[in-house]
Point group: C2
C-alpha cells in the first residue's frame, strides 16, 4: 500500500468469510429458509409504493419502522417499549458502529469476552476506540464474577456481552448482564442477534433498571433477512438521542424501511422458521455426537464442533464434499473448532453425511 | 445528557433540515420528478427477485452494481473505468465517512473551503479527524493559488473540493483540482454530487494522473434517487482496497443493489429529467433577478438568493405561503442568503409567486 492510509490499517485484510456460492452455505449463520411467495409479493408491493417517491429523501427518523420494531420487541419480551426507545440502522454492525462513535472514541476502551463476535473489535478499531479482551472460561461460559472483575480492571466505556454468543452458541445469563450494568459506569451492550433461537429471557427486561444498557438485535437471522441489512436496538430514549448525533442523515433508505416493515407484518410466518431451524440444529448436535465429536452446548442456529487436529484441512475436505462451514479455529481460544449453522433438512443431512465421511477417512 | 457520550458531542444537535411534508419541498436539493411507472415496475421486479433469496447475505463486494456504475461513469466522462476503480455505499455520506475512516482519524486533519457541504466537517468529527476550514472568495469561487496555499499551510490528510459547490452552486475548475493534487501528499476528494446539472468536465478525467484523487457522486440528485441512498466514488484500485478495510461487511443490502441496478438500466430516462430541472432552475434565476434579487451563479439544481436582512423571517414567510426553502444564512460566509432548489414547473411558479409576494410586502 503506497497510499497514506491510517497507520493501524497497514497490513490488515478486509473482514469476511469466503463467498463460494456453489457449495451448501452453512458458514455465515444464515436462516436457510427463503421468504415465502406471499412475503416476496408483500415486499415488492411495499417497495413499489416507496419507489413512487424515490426522488425524495426517506424519513430520516424511520418512525414507522421503529414503531413496528418496538411493537415486535414488546410482543416477544413483554416489556412495553415506545418508538423513542428503539433505533435501527443498516445491519446491527452499523447500529454498533454508531454506539462506538457516540460512546467510544480516542482515549476510551471497549471490553469484550472472547471468543466472541469478531466484528466487535473491528468496530472499536474503526471508531478509534481501544479494545481490551478477556477470555471466557474453557467451556466458553462467562460468570458474573469474572465479568465484573474485568469491568473493574479496565473501566470500559463500552462492554460487549452476547447471548447466545457467536461463535460458541453459549448463553450469557441475565445475572451477568445485571451485575455488569451495576459495576460499570460505561455503556453495556447485549448483542442478542440470535436471541430468537434460544429459550432465555431478553435483556430488554432489564432496561428500566439500567439507563446505560443497550440491547441490539437483527432481522438477519430469525427473520431470515440477511440480505435486508436491518439491525436495531432497544435502550433508553436518551441513548437513542445520543445516537442521532452520530448517525449519517437519511442512513436508512426508503426501500429498506418499506421492506423491513413488510417483513415485520409477516412476523408469525417468519418466526415459524425458527422452530424448523432449531429442529435441524438439534439433529446436527445429535448426529455429530453420534459420530464421536464434541459439540459445544448452543442456543443459537449454529454450533461449534470438533476437536479437529487440522481444522483447515477438515474445512477443505468438507468443502470438497460440497459443504461450506466456517473455520473459526484461528480465533482466540478456538483452536481445533469449526462452526456450522443449521440448514434445511436436506442441507443438514448433506452436512452430516460429509462429516461422517471425513471422520471415517481419518480413522 | 446524563450519559457518558463522547466529550465533543455534548451540547450538539442532530444534523438535518426540517421535515414539513405539507409544504412544497424545495429545501434539500431533491430532483422534483418522481420515477416513471416503468421504472417503478422495474425496481419492484428487481427487488422481488432479490427478495427470493433475502435470507442470504448480499454480495459483499456489490460487483454487479459497481460494474454498472463504472459503465455509467465511463459513458458520461469518456474515461474507461473498471469495476475495481469504483466503490459504492449507502449514500455519498457513507462513502465519505469510509474515506475519513481509512485516511483520516486522530492526529490527522481534513481541509474544506467554506461555505460548502456542511456534512464534511461532521464526517470528520464522526471519525475523529481534525477539521480546518478556509474561506472561499466573496463570490464563493476558489482559485488554485488559494487552495494550494491552504494545503501548504495545513498539510491535510484529506482535502475536500466540491463542484458544483453546495450550497452556492459554484463550479470549481479542474485546474484547482489538478493543483491541489500536485500540492498535497494527502487524499483529495472532489465531491461531484451535482455534476450532472453542470456543463463542466469531471475530475474523473484526472484520475490516471493522481493516485490520491477520489471523485464522489450520488444517485440522489440527477438519478432522482434520494430515497435509494446510493453514493459512489471513482478512484484508483488501491484506494478502493483501502476502503474495504473499514467498510462494514455487507454494508449494501441486496435490495439496494438490485434497485440501484434497475435505476441505472433506466439512465437515459432519468438523465432526461436533468434538462427539465435545469430549465426550471434557469427560470428561477431569471425570475428572482427580475424581482431585483441577487442570485449566485450556479451550475447545480439549486441556487443561493438574497440578500435578506432577516433571512429567518423570509424563510418563515415563504413557508407560510406554502414553500419550504433552506435557511443556510447561519453558515460560515452565508449571512443574508437562502437556498432553494429547482422544482417542477408548478412548484417553481409557486416559489416565484411567493418570493414576489414577500418582496412586495417589504417595499
Amino acid at each position: 500500500m503506497t497510499l497514506p492510509v491510517r497507520d493501524d490499517l497497514l497490513g490488515k485484510q478486509p473482514y469476511g468469510a469466503p463467498q463460494l456460492p456453489q457449495a451448501i452455505q452453512l458458514n455465515v449463520n444464515e436462516n436457510p429458509f427463503p421468504p415465502s411467495e406471499s412475503l416476496i409479493a408483500a415486499v415488492a408491493k411495499a417497495v413499489a409504493e416507496a419507489t413512487a417517491t424515490l426522488n425524495r429523501y426517506p424519513d430520516r427518523e424511520a418512525v414507522g419502522l421503529r414503531f413496528d420494531l418496538a411493537a415486535y420487541l414488546t410482543r416477544v419480551t413483554g416489556v412495553p417499549l415506545s418508538v423513542d426507545q428503539v433505533w435501527a440502522a443498516n445491519g446491527s454492525n452499523e447500529v454498533l458502529q454508531q454506539v462506538c462513535q457516540a460512546f467510544g472514541g480516542p482515549g476510551r476502551v471497549a471490553l469484550g469476552f472472547e471468543p466472541s463476535y469478531s466484528m466487535h473489535p473491528l468496530l472499536a478499531a474503526g471508531t478509534n476506540t481501544g479494545w481490551v479482551a478477556e477470555r471466557r472460561a474453557a467451556d466458553f461460559t462467562l460468570t458474573a464474577d469474572a465479568a465484573v472483575a474485568a469491568v473493574a480492571r479496565h473501566r470500559p466505556a463500552i462492554t460487549f456481552l452476547t447471548t447466545p454468543n457467536n461463535p460458541t452458541g453459549t448463553v450469557t445469563g441475565l445475572d451477568v448482564v445485571d451485575a455488569v450494568c451495576q459495576a460499570s459506569d460505561g455503556m453495556v451492550v447485549v448483542d442478542e442477534a440470535y436471541a430468537e433461537f434460544g429459550g432465555t429471557v431478553s435483556a430488554v427486561t432489564l432496561l428500566d433498571r439500567h439507563p446505560r444498557l443497550i440491547v441490539s438485535r437483527t432481522m438477519s437471522k430469525a427473520f431470515a433477512g440477511a440480505g435486508l441489512r436491518l439491525g436495531y436496538l432497544a435502550a433508553g430514549a436518551e441513548v437513542v438521542d445520543a445516537l442521532r448525533l452520530v448517525r449519517l442523515p437519511y442512513h436508512l433508505s426508503a426501500l429498506t424501511q418499506a421492506a423491513a416493515r413488510a417483513a415485520l407484518a409477516h412476523t408469525d410466518e417468519l418466526l415459524g422458521t425458527v422452530e424448523a431451524v432449531k429442529a435441524q440444529r438439534d439433529r446436527m448436535v445429535d448426529g455429530l455426537r453420534e459420530l464421536g465429536l464434541t459439540v459445544v452446548p448452543t442456543e443459537a442456529n449454529f454450533l461449534l464442533f470438533g476437536p479437529w487436529e487440522l481444522p483447515a484441512t477438515t474445512w477443505q475436505q468438507l468443502l470438497d464434499l460440497g459443504v461450506l462451514v466456517r473455520d473459526v479455529s484461528t480465533g482466540p481460544g478456538l483452536a481445533g473448532w469449526l462452526r456450522v449453522n443449521a440448514g434445511t433438512e436436506d442441507e443438514t443431512s448433506a452436512f452430516l453425511a460429509a462429516v461422517s465421511e471425513v471422520v471415517a477417512a481419518r480413522s
